[in-house]
């Protein structure tokens, strides 16, 4: 996608302008791109134009959306080949006259047009044991220092748009890995729980042996596409890989743990 600043000539135009939008149309049995010539106005986003196509040219166009504010994570799609939220992609970011392709997420099965079946993600979520808190303090309360809260709060910003799952080549290009690779969103969920000072669970063997952490080759696409700008790779996946190294590969930290246990 050739992105330009929001001050491009496209945004300078006051009246409606026309754009050629190629939208994927199809279902589980197959499909192809269909070209729509449609008008758009200053300040609009790709989702507005998709809605205009739906209202004026293709009433049966399937598209999933909710908040139009980048917070529900429903309208994930691939715009000019890059995973993006349709509601957060301004039309002014494209060159005037440039065709725009809008396709459903590649990693998940197409249900209809731009709507994909993302149930893989919910199945993976079920495999992660929930928060297992320590007993409360003597006064019946639980306390956390702000500096401990901050680290896992970054991961709580996730809106579950599943674009990180979609872009991750481990499952995007290798469907067979969906059996044993949870994807960045759920490895991040494990990291969030593992780093929680009140959690007593041990999910490191699960991450390593069942949910595919070693499959991640840290090429950072999950971080690049995250609309919440969560540092998934640096703050969740690599720290989890380092905890695996602590547990399985580093004799010095193993020795340290053994000494602490003896005390």
């Amino acid at each position: 996608m050739t992105d330009v600043s929001t001050d491009s000539p496209r945004s300078a135009s006051k009246g409606p302008d026309m754009v050629n939008m190629q939208v994927w149309r199809g279902d589980a049995s197959g499909g192809d791109f269909k070209l729509y010539e449609v008008e758009y106005r200053e300040g609009e986003v790709v989702l507005d134009v998709i809605h205009r196509i739906q209202a004026t040219q293709a009433n049966d166009l399937g598209v999933r959306w909710n908040c139009k504010a980048g917070k529900c994570g429903s309208c994930s799609a691939e715009i000019n080949g890059l995973p993006r939220l349709m509601c957060m992609t301004r039309m002014s970011t494209f060159e005037p006259g440039q065709d725009i392709t809008v396709a459903p997420m590649k990693t998940f099965p197409v249900m209809k047009d731009l709507v994909t079946d993302v149930s893989f993600n919910y199945e993976m979520a079920k495999r992660i044991p929930a928060f297992q808190p320590k007993p409360k303090d003597a006064d019946g309360k639980r306390r956390m220092a702000q500096r401990d809260v901050e680290r896992s709060q970054e991961f709580r910003k996730c809106i579950e748009c599943f674009m990180c799952q979609n872009v991750c080549h481990v499952i995007r290009d290798h469907d067979e890995n969906k059996v044993h690779f949870a994807g960045p969103r759920f490895l991040m969920r494990i990291a969030e729980l593992e780093m929680h000072p009140h959690d007593t669970g041990d999910r490191i063997p699960l991450a390593r042996e069942e949910l595919g952490l070693p499959y991640c080759n840290i090429t950072k696409c999950c971080t690049e596409v995250c609309p919440e700008h969560i540092h998934i790779t640096d703050n969740a996946l690599i720290p989890m890989k380092e905890r695996v190294v602590d547990r399985y590969f580093d004799p010095i930290t193993r020795l340290g743990r053994a000494i602490r246990r003896k005390r």
């Binding site: 996608m1 992105d3 190629q22 199809g26 279902d27 049995s29 197959g30 499909g31 192809d32 791109f33 269909k34 000019n80 080949g81 890059l82 995973p83 440039q98 392709t101 396709a103 590649k106 998940f108 099965p109 197409v110 249900m111 994909t116 220092a145 500096r147 401990d148 872009v167 080549h169 481990v170 995007r172 290009d173 469907d175 890995n177 593992e194 929680h196 000072p197 595919g212 070693p214 499959y215 991640c216 080759n217 840290i218 090429t219 696409c221 690049e224 596409v225 640096d234 690599i238 720290p239 380092e242 905890r243 695996v244 190294v245 602590d246 399985y248 590969f249 580093d250 010095i252 930290t253």
Partner: protein
Amino acid sequence: MAVTTVQAGRGTRPAQNLRVDRWWLQPALTAAGLTAFVIYSTWSTFTPHDYFAGATVGRDYLSPFFSPCITNRCGAGTTWHLVNWWPFSAAILMLPFPLMFRGTCYYYRKAYYRSFWFSPPACAVPEPHGKYTGESRFPLLVQNLHRYALYLVIPFPIILLWEAWKGTHMITVSAAGSLVTSRGLGLGTLILFVNALLLLTYTLSCHSCRHLCGGHLNALSKGPTRYWLWKRVSFLNEHHMGLAWVSLVAVGLTDVYVRLVASGAIHDPRFF
């Protein structure tokens, strides 16, 4: 209009690259940069002369590729006479450690997986491999040795700082014809110091270092010193990619400079 038909079954779109930007530019530049460094460093390793600028040019500069020099083949540039039986280039003894550190570095892994192995070449661009097991099996399982590489490489920037300090020895010839050593600062000294500091910063910004400093704790509030360290290393870690490149270029340029001074091709300016 591009028309592509998918087969029935999986129901997903076919593997095709819909990106229209210059997605290939970054992996191409990365591949070019890393290839250039590998070629130059290999040449330098197997060109064991002019890597020490000594008394003949009035300086005490040792190329970082050969530091610490532990064989007597380095002549006056020898740091410690530990492996005097070694018949080959002294750099061969030292370079494997930084090479192992950089080779297993989380940033460089991303760089060469994308640029050389196309796994993937860029985000949402299909990779050409039929099967993928990532770092779950040998040989890529050895990427878990990055922690060991960190332990081994930590002394290197400190030794390079010491070598840079040695570079403040300015050697002149007295009226009587004898060699006189005095403290001073040449352009080469500054280059050696900057190179050592960049390598130190790159080493400290490592993800494993960040983890060891405090990232392994669940309750950072219980370890205020480690929290302080973790915050500082986290700041450096945000610039890990930049530091990886800058320090890589710096170490190559420092070698070039020392060789130019040692061979007499240029005169090292002295500030005082």
